[in-house]
Symmetry: C2
Subunit: 339 residues, 2 copies
């Protein structure tokens, strides 16, 4: 037994779960960005008729999960588990969004790495024989995040160029025991890496060491190299974090420059949209995967990708207490084929 393990942190599935449907809902700003045409629903109003940002995010979660189940031609009764998380204190975007669905629920917190945490665990419970269908989801909301992590929006506080822009949106997938792909074939689970960065307005720098650690470990565990991937895409490192990651990975003699991208870089146009370092938030990698990446894999633009959402595991309280920002990154291999 234990043949599913490869090296220190990687597992390889015996019967890779298939991603049979995805759904995405985004806010107005994301709907004006370069990936707009890939999203299922673009909101005109970030409140979506609700009376708080938090309630709006819960509605986004609920509607996105309902949509992905429908797109998979299933009903909520068919779903064995939901794995989901968000950035709000005590995960209330997820829990209030999911409470009416009557589906067993595991709440996750991986900061902006949550989408790959949910996909990793969802794939593990399917390959482990515990489920036929699982929903994996993650969400964030710009307004709720600014309010909770930075300043009230009404202050109009100026943002440094290293800051990122939290994506408003939810991305969800249905993972199934049987299907025709794309498949989740491997998972490399990250450990916490903290090199002492303390600036919460430079989370790309804080997360880059974790991203690099997971990417290097993935290559070492699997024996694969950058050439084995059509695309290696991190979650929300942004332009600054991406450069640091390239450099850190290069020190271990892997050159990923030709294949590395970042969801936070893809989702906004920094020139016309004034988003500084790029998009961030659990929703950033979730909607980019559910929209752009999944659909272009179906178009065979890419056939094998390494998807690595990245999380900054801090809170306003930890920053106020002078703590540095621990990072984490979980990698998932998504492949159009397996054999």
């Amino acid at each position: 037994m234990m043949s599913k393990r490869m090296g220190k942190q990687t597992i390889k599935f015996d019967s890779p779960p298939s991603i049979i449907a995805t759904a995405s809902t985004v806010g107005p700003k994301e709907g004006k960005g370069p990936l707009a045409s890939y999203f299922d629903v673009v909101l005109h109003d970030p409140l979506w008729g609700e009376d708080s940002w938090e309630k709006a995010e819960s509605k986004i979660v609920r509607k996105t999960i309902e949509r992905v189940i429908e797109k998979a031609h299933l009903t909520p009764e068919d779903i064995n588990y939901i794995f989901a998380g968000d950035l709000l204190n005590q995960l209330t975007a997820s829990t209030f969004g999911i409470r009416g669905l009557n589906i067993p629920f595991f709440g996750l917190f991986g900061a902006c790495s949550t989408m790959s945490e949910s996909m990793s665990l969802g794939a593990m419970v399917i390959d482990g024989g515990f489920a036929d269908y699982v929903v994996a989801e993650a969400s964030s909301h710009f307004c709720g995040s600014e309010k909770q992590f930075r300043f009230p929006l009404e202050l109009g506080t100026q943002r440094p160029l290293t800051a990122s822009w939290t994506v408003t949106g939810s991305g969800a997938v249905v993972l199934a025991k049987n299907g025709t792909g794309p498949y989740i074939t491997h998972v490399t689970t990250g450990k916490i890496v903290d090199l002492g960065i303390k600036d919460p307005n430079n989370m790309g720098a804080a997360m880059a060491p974790a991203a690099a650690d997971t990417i290097i470990t993935h290559f070492q565990d699997t024996g694969r190299s950058p050439e084995d991937y059509d695309l290696i895409i991190t979650g929300d490192l942004g332009s600054i974090g991406k450069e640091l990651t390239l450099e850190l990975v290069r020190r271990s003699n892997y050159d990923i420059e030709k294949v590395l991208s970042d969801c936070g870089i893809e989702i906004f146009d920094p020139v016309t949209q004034d988003t500084h370092a790029g998009g961030s938030g659990c929703g950033c990698s979730a909607v980019t995967f559910a929209g752009y990446l999944y659909k272009e894999m179906q178009n065979n633009k890419w056939n094998r990708i390494l998807f690595i959402p990245t999380g900054a595991l801090m809170s306003p309280g930890s920053t106020q207490q002078g703590e540095s920002i621990p990072g984490i990154a979980h990698a998932v291999v998504i492949d159009n084929k397996w054999a």
Copy 2:
């Protein structure tokens, strides 16, 4: 396949993981309660030499996990995954506690149900063939929780009799593929249940419907009855939630009065310790299991228990916005034997 599933929400392991070690650390008040002798470490100072409650909780997490790995005669390199969570915003008690350990980490949020969420997922990844050894852990801290969820301690605010007292402590277990028990044989994963309770000072009432739903579903899924268990023990319903749960379960024609207890009731003496409805917090069920329940199972006081930590999935923000309190409860069967 799918033979591991039983009914709607329950799974039965093919090769039940063994709980090979437990460790617990508690605060001074827990160290004066009825279960004091069962805990590994009783702190004299709830700050444990740190300069904030949050840092103290992270230290409690780290020391408890280091201890449980040592008690299992293992090293951190042997542990494939840590599953852990707490109540602090963005799980900082866990992440700052775990960051130095260099072990792949899945952060969980299930409010006070976190201990069974971590044990459930830990057992699933072992039985699924993904790990040899997993640490499952949960923690809470009275002072940090009061500050975050209720009022600054310095105010000396009076507490209603329905309120519970957040346990200061961490409980951790090492789950192993091979061992001599006690074993985790079944898991019944809860769904969110919200009957509209809005009083954050009466979380027992808010969580009772979820506890009852999971207990009833467990009986239906497995065909078992209350007589099959030596003990059915919820997490932190307290005295009021326990009565409500008994009544709700009775309506489905199961009488669990003879076997039902609650970690929140066991851990404090309400008369001498002025803890009102009982103990609560992720740490409540975690330390009660790691200390009292595990050790008395080894003494054969009980041979098969149904352990059901219960979570109130609210935040101060959701309460301020007039929301009710969704509850969740995850059940784990722990058995000295399996065949």
